[in-house]
Symmetry: C2
Subunit: 142 residues, 2 copies
DNA sequence: ATTTATATGATGTATATACACTATACCAGA
DNA sequence: TCTGGTATAGTGTATATACATCATATAAAT
């Protein structure tokens, strides 16, 4: 079967990046499976741990997400009792904290995450730094 | 305000890649907005165009997606009448084609996509090739 | 020809993500 | 103190994505 040269015409950088991100996410997720959280959830736990009492807005900013996205991403963590909102009733601002169980899960997850991070670091090498340079300094908005 | 040094401890390669992919997707999506399709949809149109009569499985493979994911991603395109399944009733295998309207949309989308692709290429530079090298040759599965 | 295995696709349920919009607590100025 | 603006969060709806499972058409084996 001859290689279809036309294929290169639809080699889309955007799609390639998406697929790469999915592949890497899957790698991290499998590393974290023993403790029952996803990479996203790990990242949120780690963030809240460092921003005790934070509200959704600050957290969204730190996590690089829309606030509406963040609200939903927090749901599983609240439902599982890994985080808690200690704001008084009717308060407009949340005050998010890890629960005891959340701290426990984080403690167990950390070494698993670190191992995945190390392995990926070796494989990705300098590409990651370059990409992040790109990510941080080039504005893609209007 | 002093920089929080601890931040680097949660600089997650996986999350960084996800955010980068989102940012780039947003860039492409905005470029394609005038023709009313997303980057994913553009990519599927382009793929089906080159694989006339293909089934979901082959398409999923080409697109790098789970078959179940693909089925759902096709829904908007079917609904909008940009693609059509010409397989006989009860057939197990689909036969997907662009409709006239799908071809029209693709024709309009192509230059917009190409422009986005070019701009990103310039900005990403060699990083993209390195990443794809990584993507293609390193197995992240067990 | 009948049975069995498999290829192919579809569905249920779940996370991840955003935009546009809504609801309301809080603050500031008259 | 009232009033109106802004900050903060939440909802509705939509795409994107996967895993586990189900349904069935087709191919293979006997």
């Amino acid at each position: 079967m001859p290689t279809n040269k036309k294929l290169s015409e639809i080699s889309c950088v955007c799609i390639n990046l998406r697929r790469l991100a999915q592949k890497v996410t899957d790698f991290y997720d499998r590393a974290l499976r023993p403790v029952g959280i996803t990479t996203n959830q790990y990242f949120l736990l780690a963030s809240i741990r460092q921003m005790e009492g934070c509200g959704s807005g600050e957290l969204a900013q730190r996590a690089g997400l829309e606030k509406s996205t963040l609200v939903r991403t927090l749901q599983p963590l609240l439902r599982e009792g890994l985080i808690v909102d200690k704001s008084p009733p009717k308060a407009r601002k949340r005050q998010l904290y890890l629960t005891v169980s959340g701290k426990e899960v984080f403690r167990e997850a950390l070494p698993l995450w670190r191992r995945a991070q190390d392995e990926i670091g070796v494989k990705l090498g300098r590409s990651h730094d370059e990409l992040m340079e790109f990510f941080n300094h080039i504005s893609l908005r209007d």
